[in-house]
């Protein structure tokens, strides 16, 4: 049976094409001059440059973390180019009409049409191609509601007060090695501000695409939900198939003020590498939100099927009383993929609640780890946490691991953690096959069922996509 599995571990990565456009790319290497060039190219104000340089200097004194259950050769940070942008007439296209048609076509192939005729109904999209945001849809409609949704580069110029107030307020420059690197060299990303008592009229979405060879992508996302507001945000990612490992080190910061709610969903499908483990994205991402005000809520939902390496822990700092943090995750690894992902729930306020549901699926020769921290501070009276981590193993060459850290300093808190590991049972498979369903379809059905609790948290369009993605990612995993 395991030979069969071997022979079947092949999968199609549908987003693996390369777009041929002229681009402007900095030579590989990192030093203060590179940062000055990035900042200059983006016409940034002096304070932004200084902030970047500060981060860079801190980064120089830091070391890459070694504690994760991941194995990879050290990343050569001088072999990476830190800036690449499509070469168009102007540095930043004024509207989507000015965007290179090849790029628009790229996004269309990925299922993200940007032009007016076909743009996704009810979803505003900010598309980031290599290092640069190439356009945002539905800008006018959003402006009517007072919602700011633009690239972070624009925001630095247009909303300096908000940026200076919130950038780095959740993930400080020196938070960790990759966050420091990102703070120094981030090229673009999205900025969202939802005004007080405003329900964002549509889903907001950013789509990230790495195209250029040997470039890293370092986007920075900042979402601020002012008091009583609500926003749902979606993030998707793909990259071409390349033999080299490419670095993606993003930072996402969420700020929910009193009574505000942010729902952040990710479908991550970076190129995972080929069947021999060659190539693929190294995904080192810092995502963190702070429930700053009372009764606020931050909910992370992620479906992670891509990347050669995934290192990410979307977290919530529950500072406001009665605030709520949620983390729903499906992480599927196949081939030689490695994932070390989970969350941190830091309970500071009274009656704060967190829920963690993590579903890990390991197939092929992959390694899949859940790593989580739940910390209850002495003043978090009435705090509650419920954690459920389930792992499913497909084949005998992979690994599934669970590393929860639970730290409690409050006797009034109640915490529950449960984890299970099992394989797709022969009984389940037999039942499906006896009813005429082939094995691969049966496994995909069972895996989908296994992930149901998480999928139901995704916005509808994404839930369907996630299900399909899982099916594609599992192709060849079963014997």
């Amino acid at each position: 049976m395991s030979d069969e599995i071997e022979s079947l571990i092949r999968r199609e990565y549908e987003a693996g094409f390369v777009t041929n456009i002229e681009s402007e790319t900095l030579p590989p290497g990192l030093n203060e001059d590179v940062i000055r060039i990035i900042s200059a190219k983006k016409n940034e104000p002096e304070w932004m440059l200084q902030w970047r340089l500060e981060a860079y200097r801190k980064w120089c004194d830091m070391e890459a973390p070694q504690w994760a259950h991941l194995q990879h050769p050290p990343v050569d940070f001088n072999a990476i180019s830190y800036y690449s942008s499509p070469k168009s007439k102007d540095d930043a296209p004024k509207s989507l009409d000015e965007v290179d048609p090849e790029i628009l076509e790229t996004f269309e192939k990925l299922g993200i049409p940007l032009h007016e005729r076909a743009k996704l109904a009810g979803v505003a999209v900010d598309a980031v191609f290599d290092s640069v945001s190439i356009g945002t849809t539905y800008k006018d409609e959003l402006a009517k509601a007072g919602v700011i949704f633009c690239s972070i580069s624009e925001a630095i110029k247009d909303y300096p007060d908000l940026i200076q107030k919130y950038l780095g307020s959740v993930v400080p420059q020196q938070d960790n090695f990759y966050a420091a690197l990102n703070s120094a060299v981030f090229s673009d990303g999205s900025f969202v501000y939802i005004p007080k008592n405003t329900r964002c009229p549509m889903e907001l979405s950013t789509y990230f695409r790495i195209n250029e060879l040997n470039t890293g992508q370092f986007e920075r996302t900042l979402i601020v939900a002012d008091e009583g507001s609500y926003v749902s945000y979606l993030e998707g990612c793909t990259a071409p198939m390349r033999d080299e490992n490419q670095l993606h080190a993003a930072v996402v910061e969420l700020v929910a003020l009193g009574d505000a709610e942010i729902k952040y969903s990710t479908v991550q499908n970076w190129y995972p590498g080929d069947e021999n483990g060659k190539g693929g994205i190294y995904n080192f991402v810092t995502k963190r939100g702070v429930c700053d005000g009372a009764n606020s809520k931050i909910s992370w939902t992620q479906v992670e099927t891509g990347s050669a390496i995934t290192w990410k822990y979307p977290s919530v700092i529950l500072r406001g009383d009665n605030s709520i943090g949620e983390f729903y995750s499906v992480a599927l690894t196949n081939g030689y993929q490695q994932a070390d992902t989970g969350t941190k729930m830091i309970h500071l306020g009274k009656n704060t609640k967190s829920t963690i549901v993590s579903k890990g699926i390991s197939a092929g020769r992959s390694q899949n780890a859940y790593r989580g921290l739940v910390r209850i501070s002495p003043r978090a009276e009435g705090a509650r946490n419920y954690t459920q981590c389930d792992s499913l193993l497909i084949g005998d060459q992979c690994g599934a691991h669970t590393f929860p850290y639970i730290e409690n300093k409050n006797p009034d808190a109640i915490l529950e953690h449960e984890a299970t590991t099992s394989k797709v049972s022969d009984d389940q498979l037999f039942l499906c096959r006896q009813r005429g369903i082939d094995e691969e379809k049966a496994v995909s059905m069972i895996v989908n069922g296994f992930c149901k609790e998480v999928f139901k948290e995704l916005p509808m369009e994404f839930a369907v996509e996630a299900g399909k993605l899982l099916e594609v990612s599992l192709e060849g995993a079963v014997g």
Partner: protein
């Protein structure tokens, strides 16, 4: 140079003290100990257990047992009926308090210093093999100097009728003292044995007890292991227990442990043969400023082995407790069923509990689970008591005791349950009005 910390002092002293000349282990252990760094807060396995105070104390290693009040010591031993007993005081065997001549004559209990050629060979072959020295710096410290030790050997297909009671007493010394003792248990194929470990104190103590126990169960051997760590809260202790399980062997442990100035238990179970089984049942309690750290590691290295682990924690006052339970299923360990559960009662605002159950799994056809919970006393249960006329304070006390008792009442030896309850009564004496509740049948 006058040593000012544990490591320097130990190295200087242990190199001078004589180990048994036929043992090969001490030299190796000395070299490993010298090369290893002592753990810091950044060492993952010691993340929640600060060692600064311990490591900065130059504990003095005595070569013989000091004076001890024999009648006071005898009072601590409990009434366990017909047992063979070895009593150690601050790491040294105390012949006057011990009685094991029957089993000594049968060759079941032998001091290393009295070992015959075959036994020496066995000790050389087994000692230091149940764990990875790099991971256990205190084990290498213990083995750096082996002036003596105890070999417990259950013969092939033989059921040892008398339980063996090992008592480790600690008492005060003139200066902070290092107490080290070591026991090797070898259960030959088809043998059966009951071991009772009792760690107890004669009042306040400034001893650092660094204990090593290695257990090797051959095919189909059985060991029932009861463990009471009920010392005075001034004690510091690092306790390594490393078990190797051959095919079809059966290891069952029941433990009760109190916190102390520092207490660290490393329990390391290695499944080396298929169809072996391990059950770990434990309850730990900490109060005042005590600290207790339980590190359990189950290495499922081969297929068809099962393990069940249940550990409960009771944490109050300003104490701190740590639980780390790891299940590691190796690549070929198919058909493993391993379950681990850690339930805790945290009762004070100044107390802290850190729990970390871990699963590391490299085989697919397995059933594994772990659970951890931390909570306060259950409101529904409290109401049930109150609705029967029982006041809240008594209800809380009864629920606390019930929480602990649920584990203790499973001990497969009623005399040990009795002893455990006596110590629990002492423990709870200054916690609440819990004492009398133990007396009811």
């Amino acid at each position: 140079m006058t040593p000012h910390d544990l490591k320097q002092q130990a190295q200087q002293q242990l190199a001078q003290q004589a180990s048994l000349d036929w043992l090969s282990l001490p030299q190796k252990a000395q070299a490993t100990f010298a090369a290893l760094d002592m753990p810091t807060r950044k060492t993952e396995a010691w993340k929640y257990t600060p060692l600064t105070a311990l490591l900065n104390t130059p504990y003095f290693a005595h070569t013989a047992a000091g004076q001890v009040d024999e009648s006071a010591a005898a009072d601590r031993l409990g009434q366990l009926g017909d047992v063979s007993r070895l009593v150690f005081v601050n790491g040294h065997l105390h012949p006057g308090l011990s009685s094991y001549s029957d089993l000594e004559n049968q060759g079941i209990v032998t001091l290393f210093s009295n070992a015959n050629d075959a036994q020496r060979e066995l000790i050389n072959a087994e000692l230091g093999t149940a764990f990875e020295p790099q991971q256990h710096v205190f084990a290498t410290l213990n083995y750096s100097c082996i002036e003596d030790g105890v070999l417990i050997q259950a013969p092939t297909d033989f059921k040892v009728q008398q339980p063996i009671q090992l008592v480790y007493l600690s008492s005060g010394e003139a200066q902070p003292a290092l107490a080290q003792s070591r026991v090797l248990v070898y259960g030959a194929a088809g043998s059966s044995l009951e071991l009772i470990e009792q760690y107890d104190s004669l009042g306040e103590t400034n001893v650092f007890h660094n204990q090593m126990t290695e257990i090797s169960l051959q095919p189909n051997a059985r060991l029932t292991h009861l463990r009471l760590q009920v010392e005075h809260e001034s004690l510091s202790q690092v306790n390594g227990l490393h078990v190797k399980l051959a095919a079809g062997s059966h290891y069952e442990q029941h433990a009760l442990a109190f916190g102390s100035a520092l207490k660290r238990n490393d329990i390391n179970i290695n499944f080396n043969g298929s169809n072996a089984y391990c059950r770990l049942n434990g309850v730990f309690l900490s109060k005042h400023k005590q600290h207790i750290d339980n590190h359990l590691n189950l290495e499922h290295g081969v297929p068809h082995c099962n393990s069940d682990t249940v550990y409960k924690g009771f944490i109050t006052d300003s104490s701190r407790a740590v639980f780390n339970g790891r299940i590691h299923i190796h690549k070929h360990a198919q058909k493993t069923e391993a379950h681990l559960n850690n339930k805790n009662l945290l009762l004070s605002k100044q107390a802290e509990l850190d729990t970390k159950p871990e699963l590391e799994i490299y085989a697919d056809d397995v059933k594994c689970s772990h659970g951890a919970s931390i909570g306060k006393l259950d409101d529904k249960s409290l109401f049930y008591f109150q609705s029967r006329g029982i006041d809240r304070a008594t209800a809380e006390a009864m629920l606390c005791l019930g929480f602990v008792n649920e584990m203790v009442e499973q001990f497969p030896n009623t005399a040990v349950i009795e002893l455990a309850r006596q110590r629990l009564a002492e423990f709870f004496n200054d916690v609440d009005q819990l004492n009398h509740l133990w007396t009811l049948e």
